[in-house]
């Protein structure tokens, strides 16, 4: 009981610290958001100017932009600390490593939610998608996707942050892992935008939720090994 609440306090403290440092170092997060929006603009150049084609591809393009922006986002969550030598201190704290992991994953989820909240309207404007009618399933999909991406990203960013060639190793290791997340999130988004004619959205959201749970458990179980590395 008290052990659980202690763990929750640690997780919240770490999430708050990461969110604060993210807010105060606004330039970096701002450029990530701008980068992701720019990716959406470039998809328009690559596939346009036929709006119909862009509308059809919109769910996939949205999630690719979230994945690309997300890679930069989760990398930063460990990079700042590793550069300052603060990660070693974090590892030395006599607290449960799983709480540290959950705190970092929570901060990553919040950052991914901000990314999704900004990219959704950009997609709606650029690719002429009416998102207003389906806002609730879209928010659920983005939230589940954010959790899953942050769950994997926290573990892998911690793993690669002290490696040579970390800039390329993080996407290289993460992209195949998040492939099912991408697939089910795109399917759920497309179903939500199309009014879910086949009643398949629930199944994809369940798969997304299962991915989140498996990866959160796996990340929490292995993060201790990642930190002591």
């Amino acid at each position: 009981m008290s052990r659980f609440s202690q763990g929750a306090t640690i997780a919240l403290t770490i999430a708050r610290k990461d969110a604060l440092s993210e807010l105060r170092g606004r330039q970096a997060s701002g450029s990530t958001l701008f980068f992701a929006a720019l990716v959406l603009l470039l998809f328009g150049f690559a596939l346009g100017p036929d709006t119909r084609r862009l509308t059809d591809a919109a769910p996939g393009l949205l999630w690719l932009a979230i994945v690309f922006g997300g890679l930069l986002t989760v990398a930063r969550l460990h990079q700042l600390e590793a550069d300052d030598g603060a990660l070693e201190q974090l590892a030395l704290y006599p607290v449960d490593r799983r709480a540290i992991y959950l705190g970092k994953a929570l901060a990553g989820t919040i950052a991914m939610l901000v990314l999704g909240a900004i990219l959704l309207p950009v997609v709606a404007i650029l690719y002429a998608i009416p998102i207003g009618a389906a806002w609730l399933p879209l928010v659920i999909t983005v939230a589940l996707g954010a959790i899953g991406f942050a769950a994997v990203g926290t573990a892998y960013a911690g793993l690669t942050v002290r490696m040579r060639a970390r800039e390329v190793m993080l996407p290289l290791l993460m992209l195949p892992i998040v492939a099912p997340l991408l697939l089910s999130a795109v399917k759920a988004t497309a179903a939500a935008l199309g009014g879910d004619p086949f009643g398949e959205m629930g199944a994809w959201l369940q798969l997304l939720a299962a991915f989140d749970i498996v990866m959160l458990v796996a990340g929490a179980a292995t993060y201790g090994f990642v930190l002591e590395d």
Partner: protein, 246 residues
């Protein structure tokens, strides 16, 4: 010596199974000669999956016991797994071109899963290559191996839910094994190829593991350092040696 005999047996078995599959078994009525690709294709796909499973198990074992020998097993299995999986995909593409009309069939769930499996395996090997310290390398590799292994079932489910046109699994259904719908020769050809490939798989695993042991010996005894120092001393006259002792 024993390992070499195993290798020779494996080579002969592969040759024997190939001759059987190419010349003894009749061509499939629908797919023609292309169907013969299935014997090595299915065998290598199974062994590839088995290898990655072994990598994950040995990784968990390493995190638990901290024994570098388990890490060597994980490494060997990953390398052999990448080899067999790549071979399976290549064979599948050679088969898909005449039968499906395309090298890459996006609607086939097993192809998509196998491609991601190969990507995960290559990532695992690259991660190992970029870490020098043996204990650190083993820990990182084990974590990546475990997370990837947990991801595989999710990948499998997600791509299965795409509309699939891959033939149903031939051996998933026990009734089909007991009463094979295919004539007996087809089953014998597949089983023969599977046995032959399994012998080769064992041979490669043993060799790779031996190589890992040699690597440690070299690191432990600092032999590399001493050899290069001796070479330098032999080829380039050291200035310190020429100086008269004070």
């Amino acid at each position: 010596m024993k390992t070499r005999i195993l290798g020779i047996v494996g080579l002969l078995a592969v040759i024997g199974a190939s001759v059987f599959g190419l010349f003894v078994v009749p061509a499939d009525l629908n797919q023609g000669d292309a169907q013969r690709i299935m014997y090595p294709h299915v065998a290598s796909a199974w062994l590839g999956e088995l290898s990655f499973g072994l990598t994950a198990l040995a990784g968990i074992g390493y995190l638990w016991r901290r024994d570098l020998r388990l890490d060597a097993v994980a490494h060997a299995a990953a390398e052999v797994g990448v080899l067999f999986t790549a071979f399976a995909i290549w064979g599948g593409m050679m088969w898909g071109r005449p039968v499906w009309g395309v090298f890459w069939q996006w609607e086939d769930p097993r192809l998509a899963t196998t491609a991601l499996l190969l990507a995960l395996g290559i990532g695992y090997l690259l991660l190992r290559r970029l870490t020098d310290d043996p204990a650190r390398r083993a820990t990182r590799a084990a974590v990546v191996g475990v997370i990837a292994a947990l991801d595989i079932p999710i990948i499998h489910f997600s791509v299965i839910w795409w509309r699939g046109l891959h033939q149903g699994a031939t051996f998933g259904d026990p009734a089909k094994i007991l009463h094979p719908s295919a004539p007996g020769l087809f089953v014998i050809a597949l089983m023969g190829m599977l046995s032959a490939f399994t012998i080769v798989w064992c041979y490669l695993m043993i060799r790779r593991y031996q190589l890992a042991r040699l690597d440690w010996q070299m690191e432990e005894h600092g032999r590399l350092g001493r050899i290069s120092a001796a070479r330098r001393a032999a080829s380039v006259p050291s200035p310190a040696a020429e100086e008269p002792a004070r």
